[in-house]
């Protein structure tokens, strides 16, 4: 079978004769036709129309969820830092949110807010809260008592102690929380397609319905993994830059 013939067969739903070749989008090649495990040509063809938009949406979904989650968690953590009683109810509430199965949560949100990006973001943000809140609270709490006492004893105000001493020292714990939250959200964002048809979950879902052809599944899933690794590396790098005192220890 010549590539041309195969191409014609792919593009035409009327090509009923011969092996059933599903519609793998406009791209076709001997690789696609022979159903190889991974076709770089398909990727090249579908990068701009399918993969890149999905990846961009995925990055945006994650960034917005982690940023909003961080703002909410940080506000709650600072409150709990000053008023200890706030900590337990917040942990309980965010734990409940964290344990709701994600598909069920999307379903629950569709009724009040509709099947849209808002529903997706609300769900994603709610999954970041437990991790971020706990890590910020722990980071602030583990600042050594004598360091805090010295800061107060030298005449720093509460705000100055927080900004100049407590937050910098809590940074490693905060970044650790951000890393877990980010990777978790990148994974979870692959299923928000059920409410808003966005993100890398869309091509993954399509690929699952396409039978034996695996390139789209591998490409979209691989992108999600690469995105998670890249985001994690970015956060590790940021922490490295922001905490020179931890590097100096061995010197």
């Amino acid at each position: 079978m010549s590539p041309l013939a195969a191409g014609a067969a792919v593009s035409s739903p009327l090509a009923a004769a011969g092996p059933v070749i599903p519609n793998y989008r406009s791209a076709s090649s001997s690789c696609v036709v022979h159903n190889h495990l991974f076709c770089t040509e398909w990727i090249a063809h579908n990068w701009s129309p399918i993969l890149w938009p999905a990846l961009r949406q995925h990055i945006l979904l994650t960034a917005v969820a982690v940023a909003l989650g961080f703002l909410i968690a940080a506000a709650l953590a600072l409150l709990a830092h000053r008023h200890r009683w706030i900590e337990r109810p917040t942990i309980m509430l965010t734990t409940v949110l964290y344990t709701i199965p994600s598909l069920a949560l999307f379903e629950l949100l569709v009724a009040p807010v509709g099947a849209n990006v808002l529903a997706a973001e609300i769900a994603l943000v709610s999954y970041t809260l437990l991790i971020l809140f706990r890590n910020i609270v722990i980071g602030l709490r583990e600042v050594p008592a004598e360091v805090r006492e010295a800061a107060e004893g030298m005449g720093m105000s509460r705000g100055q102690v927080l900004l100049r001493v407590e937050l910098p020292l809590a940074l490693p714990a905060i970044v650790a929380g951000l890393r877990i939250a980010t990777v978790t959200i990148i994974a979870l964002a692959t299923i928000v397609y059920v409410v808003c048809n966005q993100g890398l979950g869309v091509p993954i879902h399509t690929a699952l319905g396409e039978g034996p052809f695996k390139t789209e599944l591998i490409a979209a899933g691989g992108l999600a993994i690469l995105l998670a690794l890249a985001a994690d590396a970015l956060l590790v790098g940021a922490q490295w830059l922001l905490t020179p005192w931890l590097r100096a220890r061995g010197a």
């Binding site: 050594p144 805090r148 010295a150 004893g153 030298m154 005449g155 020292l169 905490t243 005192w245 220890r249």
Partner: protein, 381 residues
């Protein structure tokens, strides 16, 4: 031992005869002190019937504590645990609020001051030091000057000066983080940080408590040398009576419940403990401790006739207590006392050793008689 001897002059009866206090040696830095604070370099501290009772507790932590620390003197608060010595110290910079009474710094009540502003004018050193782990040595020392809004160059100059003051090389140490320092270096940085804005009062809560005995003695000596230059009013908390005797111009002994048992010079407390509690607290070896406050220079030595230079050779600056210990160890053999010890810095630069006399048990007897008769009046002054 040299700093001890030098201090003896200042704290003893002769102190009154000195033509005013020596000008502090860091006069070179007056340029940095312009407009720093309304305080002179050292301030008198007065506690007036200060009481503290924590909420929900019946017993007082501090009960009607009254004492005055003259400007430029070291007052050691000492007592068993539960005597409220740390509480008393923390009342001064309002880390704890008092229940009754008043505290005056340079005649001005601390209660009328904004706590933050007050604390920026009081140096504060705690046992664990509490250096900021995320800041370099330079940044740590610059903490209070930065809070006060000093200009960059002034802060840099002050940090350099302070590092030199505590015998650390600014070029080598300035960029280090606390984790890269030894315990003794951290302690020195803690003191430098507390001195940064030239506060008129220093509060030190067991500052050498976490240091091993050998380094502790060195840091104590260093601090005494430093104090003889900067002449701060210092409130120093310790549970160790030996440290109190060594460091204090005056010692306030507190008993359980925060009651002042005795407030006096080390000599006076050792010679005339006010009651059984004080006597027990300073220990049955208080006569020996008292000998630790004198050097061989205070002793009428036996003329070195026929005996020549027998026995161990010791410098004139050695404490009588150490000399007695050597005397006993040597089976009573008289010690030969030399002037101008090798390590010392003679005023005239002379390093030659001259035999001053012999230290024997008889010589010691003379000192104790003299002490019992003479010192109490002096201590009262």
């Amino acid at each position: 031992m040299a700093p001890r001897a030098a201090r003896g002059l200042l704290t003893g009866p002769l102190g009154l005869g000195l033509p005013g206090r020596d000008p502090p040696l860091n006069t070179a830095d007056t340029a940095h002190n312009e407009g720093l604070s309304a305080f002179p370099r050292a301030a008198e501290l007065q506690l007036r019937e200060v009481s503290k009772r924590y909420d929900g507790q019946r017993a007082h932590a501090i009960r009607e504590l009254t004492l005055t620390v003259p400007a430029g003197e070291v007052c050691v608060l000492v007592g068993p645990s539960g005597s409220g010595k740390t509480t008393a110290m923390r009342l001064i910079n309002r880390m704890i609020e008092l229940t009754a009474g008043d505290i005056l710094l340079d005649g001005r009540s601390v209660l009328t001051r904004d706590p933050g502003e007050l604390r920026r004018e009081i140096g504060y050193v705690i046992q664990q030091i509490g250096l900021f782990p995320h800041q370099t040595v330079t940044e740590n020392i610059a903490t209070v000057p930065r809070l006060l809004g000093w200009e960059r160059e002034r802060i840099a100059a002050r940090v350099r000066e302070l590092l030199e003051l505590v015998d650390l090389d600014p070029g080598e140490m300035g960029g280090r983080y606390p984790a890269q320092l030894s315990g003794g270096q951290r302690q020195r940085i803690g003191v430098a940080r507390a001195l940064a804005a030239d506060p008129p009062l220093m509060l030190m809560d067991e500052p050498f408590g976490a240091i091993d005995p050998i380094n502790r003695a060195r840091l104590q000596d260093e601090f005494l040398r430093l104090q003889s230059r900067v002449r701060k009013t210092v409130v120093f908390v310790t549970h160790d009576i030996d440290e109190a005797i060594k460091m204090g111009d005056r010692i306030a002994i507190l008993r359980e419940g925060g009651v002042l048992a005795q407030y006096d010079t080390p000599q006076e407390i050792l010679a005339h403990p006010a009651d059984d509690f004080v006597a027990r607290f300073v220990g049955t070896d208080r006569a020996l401790k008292r000998l630790g406050l004198s050097t061989l220079a205070d002793v009428e030595l036996v003329a070195p006739n026929g005996l020549g230079t027998a026995g161990e050779r010791v410098p004139l600056t050695m404490s009588v207590r150490d000399a007695l210990s050597l005397l006993i160890a040597g089976g009573g053999q008289p010690l030969t006392v030399l002037d101008g010890d090798r390590g010392g810095h003679g005023e005239d630069g002379a390093r030659s050793e001259r035999v001053v006399g012999l230290f024997t048990l008889e010589a010691l007897g003379g000192l104790l008689e003299h002490d019992a008769a003479g010192v109490p009046q002096a201590g009262q002054s």
